[in-house]
């Protein structure tokens, strides 16, 4: 469970952040799903997502893995996890997936109003919604919201708040470029839904303002 519905940040930032999942269902359309998922993966490569991983390889777009290696790894049950930083690119991908009509579950995580508009524009009938009712319990122990907008892009909690602070510190010192810092932050997310383009924008906004102690 990728936890993508709990991504935090401003509305204007979340407008450029969508996670897209392709999921065969265990016990239903799992067997024989490999070639179908592969065709969807080929299509997604052409739509230039911000990040992408297939569950059989778990190496993201920036790891140096070649598309051929990714496609060859796909077998029955493989899932695709991806992130888009552009609504129109995602919409084009969905148009293509709809046309392929592989019968595999497709899930978009993003602003409800934006997904509603997109679904209407391409004549889709969304089936199920998973709503986030927020964080409860000892919220005083959480990292601050400006750090959480990075860390919640990896739902499994693999992007450490200390790493975000470390990257900010290294950018401030001129040792890293914004994009390099973003790629460092995207690497621990083994589901491939960390959006490095959004992260770059957030670093751009945050770095001049932020004072960091050594972790």
């Amino acid at each position: 469970m990728t936890h993508s519905l709990h991504r935090e940040g401003t509305i204007s930032s979340l407008e450029r952040d969508y996670a897209l999942f392709i999921y065969p269902a265990r016990g239903f359309n799992y067997n024989g799903s490999g070639p179908k998922v592969r065709r969807i993966m080929e299509l997604l490569y052409l739509e230039a997502p911000s990040n992408m991983i297939v569950s059989t390889l778990r190496r993201n777009l920036y790891s140096g893995v070649r598309p051929e290696e990714v496609l060859e790894s796909i077998k029955d049950g493989a899932r695709i996890y991806s992130a888009f930083n552009n609504r129109e690119k995602l919409k084009e991908a969905l148009v293509g997936i709809k046309k392929l009509d592989e019968g595999i579950s497709v899930v978009v995580s993003g602003l409800i109003d934006q997904v509603r508009e997109m679904a209407a524009e391409i004549n889709l009938n969304p089936h199920t919604i998973n709503l986030s009712l927020g964080i409860h319990g000892r919220t005083d122990r959480l990292p601050p919201p400006d750090i959480r907008q990075f860390t919640t892009m990896c739902g499994h909690g693999m992007v450490s708040p200390a790493l975000v602070r470390d990257v900010i510190r290294r950018i401030k010192k001129g040792r890293l470029a914004l994009w390099e810092g973003s790629i460092i932050l995207a690497a621990p997310c083994t589901c491939g839904i960390y959006n490095p383009h959004r992260s770059q924008e957030m670093l751009h906004d945050l770095v001049p303002l932020y004072t960091v102690n050594r972790w």
Binding site: M1, T2, H3, S4, L5, H6, I11, L14, Y23, A25, F28, N29, L94, K98, G103, S105, V106, V107, V108, S109, G110, L111, I112, V115, R116, A119, A120, L124, N125, P126, H127, T128, I129, N130, L131, S132, L133, G134, I135, H136, G137, R138, R141, L142, R148, T151, T152, G155, H156, G157, M158, S160, A162, L163, R165, D166, P188, T190, C191, W215
Partner: protein, 245 residues
């Protein structure tokens, strides 16, 4: 995870990669606090160590410590379910499986998320509260199910009480008319939990991506609100059509 002291050069590069601050300096070298480490493997996967001193702990797959790995490392496959990750497919394949059907809601309590993790005694506080409230419908396919000793009381297996995991998900599926009761129970137990948890509700949509007003009314009346972003199954899976026909 362990850091081999005879190899470590004490550069500290691995420290910020640990989501739980388990890596610290000890005698000018880096060391992992075994009590705090969740066995998530972040430090190893980062390939940041210049001398390859980071390794899996020899005890990582010994029970019950193995649960740390299964519930903290998204790449680990749970020995019982054969599934990677900490939950199930829940809403993601609901257009095919119809696990949550008309008039029903799915509820997920994602304990330890985001970022904090927890001792398993905190999960037991929630399962006990749910059991006291008469709620025993915990999703059987979730690997968390294997931690439960007694569904009638919500007790977990006693040997797990010292263990810590980065997160575990309590999944429930009920009729919509029980949603209010469950949300109220969860709100009350939230005061006892020494960690955080994320709360999710999933339901079938009405045409036009309309969330059933009955569900929203219950959420609002319990003083809760929903975030503007959500996970939405677009209905392109075909098994649901076959079931209908």
């Amino acid at each position: 995870m362990i850091i081999r002291q005879e190899i470590c050069v004490g550069c500290g590069r691995c420290h910020p990669y640990c989501p739980t601050h388990a890596i610290h300096f000890q005698d000018l070298k880096s060391a992992v606090d075994q009590e705090v480490c969740y066995e998530c493997g972040c430090c190893l996967r980062a390939e940041i160590c210049p001398v390859e001193a980071i390794e899996d702990s020899p005890q990582v797959y010994d029970y019950p410590r193995a649960l740390r790995k299964y519930f903290s490392d998204p790449n680990a496959t749970h020995a019982l379910t054969g599934i990677q990750g900490r939950g199930t497919e829940e809403s993601k394949t609901n257009d095919v499986t119809l696990r949550v059907g008309p008039g029903e809601v799915g509820i997920a309590i994602e304990v330890g998320r985001p970022n904090i993790g927890m001792n398993l005694t905190n999960i037991q506080k929630i399962t006990r509260a749910l059991a006291r409230a008469g709620i025993h419908e915990i999703e059987p396919n979730n690997p968390f199910q294997d931690m439960i000793q007694d569904h009638s009381t919500g007790d977990l297996k006693p040997e797990l009480m010292g263990e810590r995991v980065l997160s575990a998900i309590i999944e429930i599926q009920v009729k919509r008319d029980r949603l209010r009761h469950i949300l109220r129970t969860i709100k009350e137990v939230a005061r006892e939990v020494d960690s955080v948890f994320c709360l999710d509700v999933y339901t079938l949509l009405e045409p036009g991506l309309t969330v059933p007003p009955e569900v929203l009314e219950i959420i609002e009346s319990e003083g809760l609100s929903w975030r503007p972003n959500a996970k939405i199954n677009l209905g392109l899976g075909r098994a649901w059509e076959r079931k209908n026909s």
